[in-house]
Point group: C2
Chain length 220, copies 2
């Protein structure tokens, strides 16, 4: 299993690549409206393989991917979403609630691919390194992998929507995964109906864009 | 503040870009050994700007970046690391502990840039959308931004090392940030001493590389 890494020359990324990477980040969107055409399974595997190159605390590699193809399991997840969404709706009033409903927060019904991503707290890798004082870093490693997958997907024109209006314990049960696995992301994946750089929530009038610079503080 | 987005053509990323993106992911490494040359501040700002294009739950944009240039604050963070690292060392025995010490887990002394990244739970944006059942998604949004920054850095040849052996509350106090800000990442950033595709922890013999495919499950 352990292979010495081949000697390779570090790549140099030029200005054209930098510009493309910026375009990739700008055009990566949370996609909720999908076309129904299936995704080539080989392409999905390719996206996952790229995600596996993400960093993880102590090299623990705690990510676990579950492709949910089974119709009954999908229906179970959908039901969990509907319940949680109704509860969420109840916390908003009037116009805001109506808007919230219209946002169509889940592409669950349209997306050809459902991919659940878990963090395995029982991972045998990493020996606990680096997560004694910040144990959440195990789960965070999985979040980074999801972000990598998201960018990789967009590079191939594939849309990803992250559904967080779910009961994580219920999803774990529906998908029959080990207790040590905690849900990080339930992803809807497929070809987007349309593409745009403005977030779905801006388009729907949820909130305006904000200026970015106030979020950086310098301590000299 | 709200501007209609200009009409733009979605970019198409070709096979050459896909190959470069894969190289970028393979050559992104957790860097602990830095050259001392400073980083152009404009470059750091550019990396942060790319990170700001990351997804966030309900578009809450909870990321807060603190550039720690002040020597006293840096010394405080270093002291927190030393204390936490000693406690961690005590949990490993003999050779493993010695190895652990040799790993030089922090580039804190060498890196020209220290960047602390926080999640602001008091963010006024997002209206709580999408995080009722999974409130951790607020923090996770910041993790995704860190991963974006990491890839952007590597695209410019810049190395990033994530220090997690810290007491997060102590770091918040040292950096005098609001109580509502929780520490996600303390990043050492600078020009790497050398570049390689194999993780630092593989090189140091912490653990072997593992096969990837067992981490994907298909439920039909």
């Amino acid at each position: 299993m352990t292979q010495p890494a081949p000697i390779e020359r570090p790549p140099r990324f030029d200005a054209a690549f930098h510009a493309q990477l910026e375009q990739l980040c700008r055009w990566r969107r949370d996609v909720r409206r999908f076309r129904s055409e299936p995704l080539d399974p080989g392409l999905l595997d390719r996206l996952i393989r790229l995600a596996l190159l993400s960093p993880s605390v102590g090299n623990s590699q705690p990510w676990r991917f579950v492709k949910v193809d089974d119709a009954h399991r999908r229906a179970g997840v959908r039901a969990s979403f509907v319940t949680c969404n109704q509860a969420a709706l109840a916390t908003y009033e009037g116009e805001r609630a109506a808007l919230y409903a219209r946002l169509k927060l889940a592409g669950l019904d349209q997306a050809p691919v459902h991919l659940a991503v878990f963090a395995d707290s029982a991972t045998g890798l990493g020996g606990g390194l680096g997560r004694r004082t910040m144990p959440e870093t195990l789960t965070w490693s999985v979040v980074g992998a999801v972000q990598t997958l998201w960018l990789a997907a967009r590079a191939h024109g594939v849309g990803v929507g992250w559904v967080s209006i779910l009961d994580p314990a219920e999803v774990r049960s529906i998908l029959s995964v080990p207790d040590a696995w905690s849900l990080v992301a339930y992803l809807c994946i497929g070809w987007p109906e349309e593409e745009h750089t403005d977030p779905e929530l801006h388009r729907a009038g949820w909130q305006p864009r904000v200026e970015d610079l106030h979020r950086v503080v310098v301590q000299r």
